[in-house]
């Protein structure tokens, strides 16, 4: 797995997690991730939207236009059942990865 793949995968997982509780628009997702990571993870706007379109094409998330806090229409994303399955799988994979690598990197 290349560096970008890993990054891709992680970004997808973060987005799916963000949408797992409630629908959000793109900026909402960025904010949520920033908050939850205490400003440690900042998703670049430029990488977020292609990822969102890709996940929508693959039916992991669905979109609908709704009214935003600004008063104008915005595109809100919701996670699908397929998306939830993906999230679960990737999370488990991530945990395994960390469990495997941690002893190596954290040992003396």
């Amino acid at each position: 797995m290349t560096a970008t793949d890993r990054l891709h995968g992680t970004l997808d997982s973060l987005v799916l997690k963000a949408l797992s509780t409630q629908p959000r628009h793109g900026y909402g997702i960025v904010c949520w991730i920033r908050e939850r990571s205490d400003d440690a993870v900042v998703v670049e706007d430029g990488s977020l939207y292609p990822a969102l379109y890709r996940m929508e094409r693959d039916s992991w998330i669905e979109a609908e236009w709704g009214t935003s806090e600004l008063g104008r229409k915005a595109k809100f994303y919701t996670i699908t059942a397929k998306g939830r399955r993906q999230l679960k799988a990737r999370t488990a994979e991530f945990v395994r990865f960390v469990a495997a690598v941690s002893p190596i990197l954290l040992s003396a």
């Binding site: 628009h25 793109g26 900026y27 670049e44 706007d45 430029g46 990488s47 939207y49 292609p50 379109y53 890709r54 929508e56 094409r57 669905e62 979109a63 609908e64 236009w65 935003s68 806090e69 600004l70 104008r72 229409k73 915005a74 595109k75």
Partner: protein
């Protein structure tokens, strides 16, 4: 997807992807700006910062647009599949709801599809499938011709020179044809068929034996040890497929033969083909003379040589040969025929005609179902109008209707294939023997592919016109009118389309009926032909004494004389005799030239005459009339002068209008230059030898006691027993066998059959063909009648109001009947006229199969018209009666 989401996403779908991306990115920038401003930045700085954070907006936009378009593509594909799936399910549900319609339509299509699949399956197996040889189109038969007409067989010297033509042929081989051999070693000796072939014969086909080997050139030399190659079916039947058969010995005609090879199952091309091959062992002398013509020549062409080029080369060689032989005319040539043509012979052509006939039935079936769909469609106008109002475009409606007719055709195809499976299986056993590879017919991939294409074609044929008609733009008017208006498209007073379909059906049915009529007349005419003998109550059995113990003529003749004596004394045998060949039994013919003494004829002008070696009493046993002179009697022996009885046509040819008795002829000569004189002692009636539909061949009967010694091996020392019995012929078989056993226990007789069965078999193919075409004609007639009924019934149901009105105003049953007739006869009459013209052309296709009737026989056409007329009138009668029963009040109120 939730309903809301679906609705909204359809709204999304309407918005172009570019716009969507634009809006989304714009929103993001705006909200980021707002946040930055809230944190204290100036609007301009906030905007600049927002843009900076985004990165390369154009490439992001491009990526999003690309992904968005992919999303749209996938979505519309899924939607299409969903729609199709819905259409299919809906179509099947609709069929389930209108059982009457579905049942009729499916039953009709099943008949057509089953018939077409069956015929195609047989055609594929018999004529289209390449033969299981290496490069099968390179295998040819070489036929010598004289003065343009092909000869039955080739001579040894011709084989020798053709073998030398290696610029045209890779291999040239010959077979002496199939003969009966006595296989002994089991409890009773049996007769099996085998062929004597040259060593290169099997190599011509390029097929290697499954076990062991083929023949080597050493096996083919005179004096070499006896070897044999078995056919697969014989190996299984006789030796139980024992794989240790190679090297074992079997006794043929008293001689041991070592089995050196077994051919594979794919080489079993005929159901009753030869069981084994043994080397022909032609001597140098045989390869150097014209002598007796008995070889069938086959060859494999060089890869780069065409048949025409090979024929030229071979013909040149034949002409050169002819100059060396003073006896033969110079006009010699060679024909090169593809092996498959020779193998399939007539059957291919007949099957194509049958396929044509079955296509007619299929078209009639399609026309019927199309009419059914049209009628049904009119009833569904309401439903379709609603759909159109909801936004379904015409294309969508047409697609839905086509999918429905595809579902209909699909169900019919599945059922039809099942029926075809049964039919093919039945044909494999019950079909005529003369059709090669008939038992190889199966429903395989090619047949299924054919059926699939047929199904699609059918659904388009059947469904397209109704679909286009029904989805016509007048739907809105329909909706407003409540869907019950009689002004709907297609429900009008004169519906030309439905009448057109019915006329087409009637025309096709006419063509089929005419064809069947011609074939029925052929069969009847052939049955009426007097064969020239009486086959009823006669047993036929073949005796083949083996070579060992019967090497000289005296021994053979003595054995047969004893057999003759014993047979005459059997209780249930009224009369018995022996003959070398039985008429109409499909056996080969033995021919001789005949030269009258009082006016010498050069060999080229001599008629080709069949000869029979018979015992006394043959003519009375077969009930062949003796027209003048006397029959062969027991006093005609090897020591008395040579005599012969000739057939009437031969007497006419040699001495027209004069008495033949007492004259002398040179025939059955075996040494060139030494005439063999026979005195004509009697003239017998003509006998149909080859088939009832071919003219009798001039025949010569000679006493078997006077047979020239060299002829015995040529006919395998074999004579047939013919016995006219009291009661059933087959009951006598065991006593005949016992009689033979008394004479010599080693003498086998074959199974023994009734002569009438043999004669019936000669007509089997014609009869079967007639039966098939008549069945198709009957089916076509029934379907066409159904079509006529449908149209008239529909007309009646649409005009109920008018009929009720007329009856209320005093019209009687006769007037109603006239109204119905007027409506129904029009298309029928038009169809009959077109059909008559069509049958003139289709009847020509049957030309080769007719006997006693011309293809353009007007009587048959008139009969077909009459039959169609009567059936159509009956079909119109039912709706007419229904119309008359309608109470005027009901009709007036209902409308």
């Amino acid at each position: 997807m939730t309903r809301i989401a679906r609705r909204l996403s359809s709204l999304l779908g309407r918005r172009p992807v570019e716009e969507e991306v634009e809006n989304e990115l714009a929103f993001h920038l705006e909200i980021v700006q707002r946040d930055l401003i809230a944190r204290g930045m100036t609007p301009d700085a906030a905007r600049a910062e927002a843009l900076r954070r985004f990165g390369d907006i154009p490439s992001v936009r491009a990526a999003c647009e690309r992904l968005g378009r992919q999303r749209e593509q996938q979505r519309s594909r899924a939607e299409l599949l969903g729609e199709l799936g819905h259409d299919v399910r809906f179509g099947l549900r609709q069929l389930g709801r209108s059982r009457g319609f579905a049942g009729t339509a499916i039953a009709t299509l099943v008949v057509g599809i089953a018939a077409m699949s069956t015929v195609f399956s047989v055609l594929e197996a018999v004529a289209l499938r390449p033969l299981p040889f290496a490069d099968p189109d390179r295998v040819v038969r070489i036929v010598p011709t004289r003065r343009g007409s092909p000869l039955d067989a080739g001579a040894g010297v011709e084989l020798a020179v053709l073998r030398g033509l290696d610029r045209a042929f890779v291999q040239v081989g010959a077979t002496a044809g199939s003969n009966g051999f006595t296989l002994s070693g089991g409890s009773t000796p049996i007769v099996v068929a085998g062929s004597r072939v040259t060593a290169d014969y099997l190599r011509v086909f390029g097929v290697h034996p499954m076990l062991g080997r083929g023949f080597s050139d050493d096996d083919d030399r005179p004096g070499a040890p006896h070897v044999a190659v078995l056919s697969h079916q014989f190996w299984v039947q006789q030796f139980a497929g024992d794989s240790s058969i190679i090297g074992r010995s079997m006794t043929l005609d008293g001689e041991p033969y070592t089995v050196v090879g077994v051919m594979s199952a794919s080489f079993d091309l005929r159901r009753y083909g030869e069981s084994f091959w043994i080397p022909l062992r032609l001597s140098q002398e045989q390869l150097g003379t014209f002598g007796h013509r008995f070889l069938l020549l086959f060859a494999r062409l060089r890869p780069d040589v065409s048949r025409a080029a090979a024929a030229q080369a071979a013909s040149a060689v034949a002409r050169e040969l002819a100059t060396r032989d003073p006896e033969h005319p110079v006009e010699s040539a060679m024909e090169i025929r593809p092996y498959i043509d020779d193998f399939v012979k007539d059957s291919g052509r007949r099957l194509f005609v049958l396929l044509g006939a079955v296509s007619f039935v299929m078209l009639i079936a399609c026309a019927n179902v199309a009419n059914l769909l049209l009628a049904r469609g009119t009833a569904r106008m309401q439903e379709l109008a609603i759909r159109a109002a909801l936004g379904a475009g015409r294309g969508r409606l047409v697609r839905q209707l086509l999918v429905e007719s595809l579902a209909l055709a699909g169900v019919s195809a599945i059922l039809g294939t099942g029926v075809a499976l049964l039919l093919v299986k039945w044909l494999a056993t019950a079909g005529p023997r003369s059709v090669p590879r008939l038992d190889h017919a199966t429903i395989d991939a090619s047949v299924l592919a054919f059926t699939a294409c047929l199904t699609v074609l059918t659904s388009v044929l059947v469904g397209l016109v109704p679909a286009l008609r029904i989805s016509a733009p007048q739907l809105e008017a329909t909706l407003r009118a409540g869907g019950r208006s009689t002004r709907l498209a297609g429900a009008g007073r004169r519906d030309p389309l439905r009448s057109l379909f019915v006329s087409a059906e009637v025309a096709l049915a006419m063509a089929l009926l005419t064809g069947s009529g011609l074939l029925i007349q052929t069969a009847v005419a052939a049955e009426r032909v007097q064969p020239g003998f009486d086959p009823k109550g006669v047993l036929v059995g073949r005796v083949i004494p083996s070579a060992r113990g019967y090497t000289d003529a005296a021994a053979i003749v003595g054995a047969y004389e004893r057999i003759y004596e014993t047979l005459k004394q059997l209780p249930d045998v009224r009369s018995a005799a022996l003959t070398s060949l039985v008429p109409l039994s499909g056996g080969g013919s033995a021919q001789t030239g005949v030269d009258p003494q009082d006016h010498h004829m050069p060999e080229a002008d001599q008629p080709n005459v069949d000869f029979r070696l018979v015992s006394a009493g043959y003519l009375p046993t077969m009930r062949i009339p003796l027209l003048s002179g006397r029959d062969i009697s027991l006093t005609d022996r090897s020591t008395t002068p040579s005599v012969a009885v000739i057939s009437q046509s031969l007497a006419e040819k040699l001495w027209p209008g004069q008495n033949a008795v007492g004259r002398r002829i040179d025939a059955l000569g075996t040494e060139p230059g030494h005439p063999h004189w026979l005195e004509v002692i009697g003239v017998a009636g003509d006998v149909h030898d080859l088939s009832l539909t071919q003219p009798p061949v001039p025949t010569l009967y000679a006493p078997f006691t006077q047979t020239p010694a060299v002829l015995w091996p040529a006919i395998q020392r074999s004579l047939f027993i013919v016995a006219r019995t009291n009661g059933s012929p087959t009951a006598v078989i065991s006593s005949v066998r016992r009689a033979l056993h008394e004479v010599d226990p080693s003498l086998p007789m074959d199974d023994g059959q009734r002569l009438e069965d043999l004669v019936a078999r000669s007509m089997a193919t014609t009869r079967f063909n007639t039966l098939l075409l008549s069945v198709l004609g009957a089916i076509a007639l029934a379907l066409a009648a159904g079509g006529v009924y449908g149209v008239v019934a529909y007309f009646v149901s649409q005009r109920r109001h008018e009929i009720g009105l007329r009856m209320a105003l005093g019209a009687g049953p006769l007037d109603v009947w006239r109204l119905v007739l007027h409506r129904g006869l029009g298309p029928v009459a038009a169809g009959a006229v077109v059909g008559g013209i069509l049958s003139v052309f289709t009847a020509r296709l049957l030309r080769g199969q007719l006997y006693g009737v011309q293809p353009s026989d007007p009587g048959t056409v008139l009969m077909a018209i009459a039959l169609l007329g009567v059936v159509s009138l009956v079909a119109m009668l039912l709706p007419a009666r229904q119309a008359m029963r309608v109470a005027p009040a009901v009709a007036l109120s209902g409308g």
